[in-house]
């Protein structure tokens, strides 16, 4: 009887699958717009040699940032979860803080701090007689700055993964003589591979899509080409075309990640959830671990933001305007988080049988904002023409939609990871108790994934606060956000004034980041 019912339900389109199809279409619409824009119209006159150079720079940048974030994020998570050392409880959440700093703000801070004509290097030359052999403007600087900005994605994912490993495995490994570092790369790391892949995928996609930071650091990537073909040659067609390799790369990454995961689900139905064996690091080892964490937090937050803050102190900010912009940022962040997470949940719940198709909806994350704007302008144009004088409400709705399409990956990854904790046996249990597919989705899967949904909303909230290109192009009249103000000042080369809105973004994100990390700390079953 039960078997018959299962077959019957496979022939009909179930409610979750239908919802997922809608959510997927919503997220894909702007991308379809991009591909359509790439096919028709006049192209710009960008030399193939330049495009090749841009593409190579993008590829190298993604590779190095991917490697650096993987190593830094994993090490930090390993220290925090598996060891005890001075300051560990503080670092546990402080290590995620750079997530709250927009990459472009990090770039502003670092480029200025290490500028050859900046006060730091001027006084070094004047007083010490030597100069730093490097600046931040250049490829190395870009790798450094973007790694500082994006390692928290890996750190958060790996921390959750390490926390949720079963003691059995670690103990079994130890009886086989595998301890310390060995247990990291022979046992814990292979088991945490899906989390590592998810974290690194986010970091790499952010890197590929970044324009603000690399532009400020004078590194020319594919996004430079995109902006040039649009701004100089006025060709959105070429801009969209240049984005296609980025989309293809992102699709490839997602596919590799999926392939790697196949047949590697570790169902831990009989896992034991005793507290993890935490190793006490003694003396110099402990201080080394603390120094490593401190260095990461300093590089990702304290140093660049401190420098911006120091410069901002000299200015006289327009507080009423900043507060209004802060209110707008907050409102958009909350609405963006709600809608994106709702859509991502629909997608994740309904498409567990077509994971790759669902993942295409993540591609918006790797799409440079300028290109996403091209894709969004098409559906927006239809709305604008259907509803003239629509004004504020429509503009806000469009913006929230833009965030959902652009940030879907940031919500989909954690929710999907959360749903993997729903074991097949749980579903079978629900179905054998007479639940339909839809009803078991709502009764079993959704409650299990509730924590993941909260995580996802916090990440999207933080991302919306930092979002720039879609906000710039779709916002209604007389409507600034903090990111927009920071960008305006930086464009006008008024770095001191760009500091205050940047710091306000950090402050607004702070509670979300702290909440996020605390939640992960308590995510271990039985904790």
């Amino acid at each position: 009887m039960a078997i018959k019912a299962t077959f019957a339900s496979q022939r009909r389109i179930s409610v979750p699958a239908a919802l997922a199809a809608i959510a997927g279409l919503v997220a894909l619409l702007p991308l379809i717009g991009v591909v359509a824009a790439a096919l028709f119209g006049e192209t710009a006159d960008i030399a193939a040699r330049d495009v090749f150079r841009y593409a190579a720079t993008s590829a190298w940048l993604a590779l190095f940032v991917g490697l650096a974030t993987a190593v830094l994020g994993t090490l930090a998570a390993w220290f925090i979860v598996m060891h005890r050392f001075p300051g560990r409880d503080l670092f546990a959440w402080a290590l995620a803080l750079p997530l709250a700093v927009p990459a472009f703000a990090l770039a502003y801070g670092y480029a200025d701090l290490f500028d050859v004509a900046g006060p730091l290097r001027m006084s070094m030359r004047g007083n010490l007689g030597f100069d730093l052999p490097f600046g931040m403007r250049g490829f190395g600087g870009a790798v450094f700055v973007l790694s500082c900005a994006f390692y928290p994605y890996v750190y958060l994912a790996m921390r959750a993964a390490f926390l949720n490993q079963s003691v059995n495995v670690a103990e079994a490994a130890r009886t086989l003589g595998c301890d310390g570092w060995h247990s990291l790369y022979r046992v814990a790391l292979p088991m945490a591979r899906p989390a590592l892949a998810a974290g690194v995928a986010l970091a790499v996609m952010e890197t590929l899509a970044d324009y603000g930071a690399v532009q400020f650091l004078s590194v020319q990537t594919l996004t430079t080409g995109i902006v040039r073909s649009w701004s100089v040659y006025g060709s959105t067609v070429s801009a969209a075309r240049l984005a296609l390799p980025l989309l293809a790369t992102a699709a490839l990454l997602l596919w590799i990640e999926r392939r790697g995961r196949q047949g590697r689900t570790h169902e831990s139905g009989n896992a034991r959830w005793r507290p993890l064996d935490v190793k006490q690091l003694s003396g110099s080892q402990g201080w080394l671990a603390a120094a490593f964490c401190l260095a990461l937090v300093s590089a990702g937050l304290l140093l660049p933001v401190g420098w911006l803050l120091w410069n901002a102190l000299e200015t006289n900010p327009d507080w009423p305007r900043l507060l209004r912009a802060g209110g707008h940022s907050l409102m958009l962040g909350l609405m963006g988080a709600l809608v994106t997470v709702m859509l991502a949940t629909m997608l994740a719940l309904g498409t567990r049988r077509l994971p790759m198709a669902a993942r295409l909806a993540s591609l918006g994350y790797a799409t440079p904002g300028a290109v996403m704007a091209i894709g969004l302008l098409a559906p927006a144009g239809i709305l604008w023409n259907l509803m003239p004088d629509s004004g504020y409400g429509i503009a806000i709705a469009l913006l929230v939609y833009a965030y959902a399409a652009r940030l879907m990956a940031a919500a989909l990854e954690p929710i999907d990871a959360g749903l993997t904790r729903v074991t097949p046996s749980m579903i079978y249990a629900a179905r054998s108790l007479g639940r339909s597919e839809t009803s078991s989705a709502f009764a079993v899967e959704l409650p299990v994934a509730r924590g993941a949904m909260l995580t996802a909303s916090l990440i999207v909230f933080i991302d919306v606060l930092k979002e720039l290109p879609a906000t710039l192009i779709l916002r209604p009249f007389n409507f600034d956000t903090l990111a927009v103000l920071a960008n305006n000042y930086a464009l006008d080369e008024r770095l001191e004034q760009a500091g205050t809105p940047s710091i306000l973004i950090v402050l607004l994100s702070l509670p979300a980041v702290i909440w996020l990390t605390r939640k992960i700390a308590f995510s271990r079953p039985g904790a």
Binding site: A44, D45, I46, A47, A111, D115, V116, A117, R121, M122, R137, G138, S218, Q220, V227, R228, W230, S231, V232, Y233, G234, T236, E314, D318, M331, M335, L338, V339, M342, A370, A373, I374, L377, A378, A380, G381, W384, N385, G391, Y392, G393, I394, I396, A397, L446, R450, M453, L454, P469, L472, I473, L474, R475, P476, F477, N478, F479, D480, E493, Q497
Partner: protein, 344 residues
Amino acid sequence: MALRTFVTTLLGAILLAGCSGANEDTELQEVNLYSARHYDSDLPLYERFTELTGIKINRIEGNADQLIARMKSEGTNSPADVLIAADAGALWRAQEAGLFQPVQSETLTSRIPANLREPDGNWYGFMRRARIVAYDAAKVKPEEIDDYAKLAEPRFRGKLCVRSSDSVYNLSLVGALIEAWGEKRAEQWVSGIVANMARPPEGGDRDQIRAVGAGVCEVALTNSYYYIRMASSDDEADRKLTQRVKLGFPSLDGKGAHVNISGGGVAVNAPNKANAVRLLEFFASAEAQSHIAAENNEFPASPDVTAPSPVDSYSNFTANPMGVAAFAARQPEAQSLMSAAGWR
């Protein structure tokens, strides 16, 4: 949080947002401004316009090309009345996209010199910005930089700082050189500049001026107002730097320094056309030009507007009379030429 709570909260938020927009008094006189100028100092100017005319300004600021793309998507329903930009090239691209309508206004034609506006009245320049040279006064004599051609000569091998080729100000300058000299000679000049670069292009104009101060290079191409802003800055280090780094006005073919504009025009589908023209006329007024000159350190477009301090000490230069519309159209050509020569 349950799904239902998500949905209700969201719908509530959107409704609220929609209502607050819909409640606005439709009888109010307004003008919708799309602005690629993003200077805080423009805000009091908008308030002043409202005070004088009773017309409220709604503004969206953004990158010129995104504003242009948005206007295209909005089509005939676009609420935009006026588009302003800080570069002639952007105004030309908007005109090419068919986004402006020609405006004939006695006030505008009498106040704005013919070379600073589009011949058919599609757009008008209100402020001027010269693209000139900051130089190390200890190492460079003024007569060594009195002509753009000299910047490309071997005298400055490895001694010149300049930002990247996609800066609209560089594109307009090279566009002007193509217009004056033809493509071949402009290409040679660009190659000379690339050979003279002290470092690969990085940073903005202010960074180039600072690099001259730090001894990285002897000359740098910059827009006038960045230098003037540093010279009159609250920051002591910036002021001190401008005592050693001086501002020179090279000439193009002996006719004066390259001048770009900040300006705007009336949108082709402007729903409030009369108000839009009044706004343009206000930008052309002596009061508005003086305000922007004082706050953002650009030069006034009208010859009868005396530049206020601190701009006055620099405004006594010869400006090249080339029509801004002529070089604006040459930006794509300029970009191709610069990329081919290796100007990143």
